[in-house]
């Protein structure tokens, strides 16, 4: 469990590591999706090519776009690209770095799909069965069949149970040939991808390594800065909400005391702590009023200065552009409001 926890923490430690994790999961998911997918060649002359190439190329495109969609850095990149310059200059090298790193990660799952598809062979068999060289592999001089009919017969090669062209070309021969071509293509593709990856990784330090380090640092910085800003805003919202609710209850209990005819009793010293925690609400009617008032008349998004933890922030927060009002003024409105509650 410790190992798992370490791995988990490592992956979460920064956005890049997290994205590597997602990338790996998507690659596995793409292999799993291929094996779960029920390949179903139509075995009709023009449909075969469309279907086969469609299954070969459309899911990789989907996976590539999905790799971008799932990457949180996309909105970060777009934001950084579109923000007004303000007092902070924009560095195109950082943007390029972010884009390249996202694109590289997004290419892994499509590459896995294409490799698995080619190595399996069903797609190429389906797409190119009408292009099998009948002259070399079969009996091209078989009489009585027009080119169109030959194509129809060849189109049924992937569907063994309805294939009726055994005299023209043996089914096993054609399938074996097409599968061989497909697997050769598959291995070449795998080799090409790994060579490219190797070259990119090994040649990059030979060119502009210093600039690369700089771009990487600042792109991490933008990511961390954005996260910290979001966390700070959340913390602030939490504190704001606490104080707002506290002031709401205080305002309510003061109003109710004012509305009642008898003077407020001072709580005995020993019950002071509990009474304070009860927020001045000590019976069912008052609580109901508080709940109704919470729904009908939420307090304004403006904290009163005395209650704020630090005195400076009081006037700066014009949550809704309301002019700062004196505390007693809203209370008068609230007292009148209670008359029909």
């Amino acid at each position: 469990m410790d190992k798992f926890r370490m791995v988990f923490q490592f992956l979460q430690s920064n956005q890049e590591s997290f994205m590597n994790g997602i990338c790996g999961i998507m690659a596995l998911a793409s292999a799993q999706m291929y094996s779960a997918f029920d390949f179903n060649c139509p075995c009709l002359p023009h449909y075969n090519l469309a279907y086969g190439l469609g299954i070969l190329l459309v899911p990789p495109l989907i996976l590539f776009l999905l790799g971008f969609v799932l990457n949180n850095n996309v909105s970060m990149l777009a934001e950084e690209w579109r923000r007004p310059q303000g007092q902070r200059g924009k560095d195109p090298a950082v943007l390029r770095y972010m884009f390249c790193s996202m694109a590289q990660r997004a290419m892994i799952a499509p590459a896995v799909w294409v490799s698995v598809t080619l190595l399996d062979g069903k797609c190429i068999t389906c797409a190119f069965c009408t292009s099998v060289p009948v002259e070399t592999l079969g009996n091209a001089s078989h009489p009585g069949l027009s080119p169109g009919e030959i194509k129809q017969v060849l189109a049924r090669i992937p569907c063994k149970e309805i294939y009726d062209g055994q005299e023209l070309i043996a089914n096993e021969v054609a399938v074996r040939y097409l599968r061989c071509v497909s697997q050769a293509l598959g291995w070449c593709f795998v080799l090409l991808m790994t060579t490219l990856a190797f070259l990119v990784r090994s040649l990059r330090p030979c060119f502009t390594q210093a600039a690369f380090l700089k771009s990487r640092y600042w792109s991490h910085y933008i990511d961390i800065e954005r996260k910290l800003f979001d966390e700070t805003c959340t913390e602030h919202a939490r504190s704001f909400a606490k104080v707002c609710i506290q002031q709401f209850f205080e305002g309510m209990s003061t109003d109710l005391e004012a509305a009642r005819c008898h003077p407020p009793r001072k709580a005995p010293a020993d019950a002071g702590e509990a009474a304070k925690k009860l927020l001045g609400i000590t019976d069912q009617g008052t609580m109901n009023t508080a709940l109704k008032s919470w729904h009908r008349c939420k307090p304004p998004l403006q904290l009163h200065p005395p209650a704020l933890p630090s005195g400076n922030g009081g006037n700066g927060w014009a949550g809704e552009g309301q002019p700062p009002t004196q505390p007693p003024a809203p209370r008068k409105e609230v007292a009148a409001y209670y008359s029909w509650v």
């Binding site: 449909y47 777009a78 909400a241 609710i245 005995p268 009860l278 939420k298 809704e320």
Partner: protein, 347 residues
């Protein structure tokens, strides 16, 4: 177990992660549901289309509604939309943001169901087997129209004796499945491309407004949670005080009615405090009965301070005082119902 706890903690760290987690779980549940569902095409001319399209569209509606129900933000949004303005202005941008975020998450599971259905193909084969052009398929070209319709309707059923091992049936099935899978992949491509464009282009429009709307929608959620926590804490204290009052009043009653002199000055005062003067089986039984039949009023204000006799909230009328020792008197409490502010008892 620790693994699950860590994963749980990660997702719980903020409410967006929680909702993403629920969204993902619902999507997985929808795939699992489809795999477990035993699709059974009726193979009759008009029923096929109804069944096929029904299976394709009705569960997504249910999943969509589930996605709305399970999302906490939908209640937050509804409340924010419907609350009276009061002292706090309403910001339509916040409501729009909440609405769009809820809809996006709720749409994931239905879309997953529809795409899995299309990629599997059974629904479309069932629904559209009667609509296929029979001229394209050799086995059906020579039959009369009515017969053709019947035969085509039976295509989805592999075990039907008329069409078993019929190559044309397999050809029709294959043809429809090909279309179904092509449709599924195309829809998936369009949706993912739309999501991709939305992610890239959103910062180009009104980014500052979006940041504000996101912050305030988060704030509303946090505020509601903190309000609920405050109310919970308050009700805990309230209940504590209420029960203390109740026990105290019972202790007063027992002191008044029992003939045992109070033992002063004996040791273990702390323990006696905890026992609150209820020290034998009869007293406990009476206390429990009293708690059931006559719960104390919801009022712990200082007008009923501890230590004084219970004024204004009597639960024992003068005549029941004589029956205090009688354990069979469950009806004492019923005879003297205790409305709030009933006749004060004279001590």
């Amino acid at each position: 177990m620790e693994r699950f706890r860590m994963i749980f903690q990660y997702f719980h760290s903020n409410s967006e992660s929680v909702m993403n987690g629920i969204c993902g779980l619902l999507a997985l549940a929808s795939v699992k549901m489809y795999a477990c569902f035993d699709f059974s095409c009726p193979c009759l001319p008009r029923y096929n289309m109804a069944y096929g399209l029904g299976i394709m569209f009705v569960p997504p509606v249910a999943l969509f509604l589930c996605g709305l129900i399970l999302n906490r933000q939908s209640l937050v949004m509804l409340e924010e939309w419907r609350r009276p303005q009061g002292h706090r202005k309403k910001d339509p941008a916040v409501i729009r943001y909440l609405c769009s975020s809820i809809m996006q998450r709720a749409m994931v599971a239905p879309v997953v169901w529809i795409i899995v259905t299309l990629l599997d193909g059974k629904c479309l084969i069932c629904a559209f087997s009667s609509s296929v052009d029979p001229e394209k398929f050799v086995g059906f070209a020579n039959a009369s129209p009515v017969q053709v319709q019947q035969l085509l309707a039976k295509v989805p059923c592999k075990d039907d004796e008329l069409l078993r091992n019929n190559t044309s049936r397999k050809a029709v099935s294959r043809y429809l499945r090909c279309w179904s899978q092509a449709l599924g992949w195309s829809i998936l491509l369009i949706l993912i491309a739309a999501a991709f464009l939305a992610r890239w282009l959103r910062p180009c429009f009104n980014q500052a407004t979006l940041l504000q709307a996101r912050h305030w929608s988060n704030y509303i959620d946090i505020e509601q949670k903190i309000f609920e926590e405050t109310c919970c804490e308050h009700s805990r204290l309230f209940a504590h005080k209420c029960i203390l009052h109740f026990f105290e009043s019972m202790r007063q009653e027992i002191k008044l009615h029992s003939f045992i002199l109070p033992r002063e000055g004996e040791g273990a005062e702390g323990e006696e405090d905890l026992l609150r003067g209820i020290t034998d089986q009869d007293q406990v039984n009476k206390l429990l009965k009293m708690w059931y039949y006559e719960k104390p009023p919801l009022d712990v204000s200082q007008s009923h301070p501890l230590g004084r006799t219970w004024q204004g909230h009597c639960h024992l009328s003068p005549q029941s005082r004589d029956q205090w020792g009688d354990d069979s008197g469950a009806d004492i409490f019923l005879q003297n119902p205790n409305p709030k502010g009933s006749t004060p008892r004279k001590t």
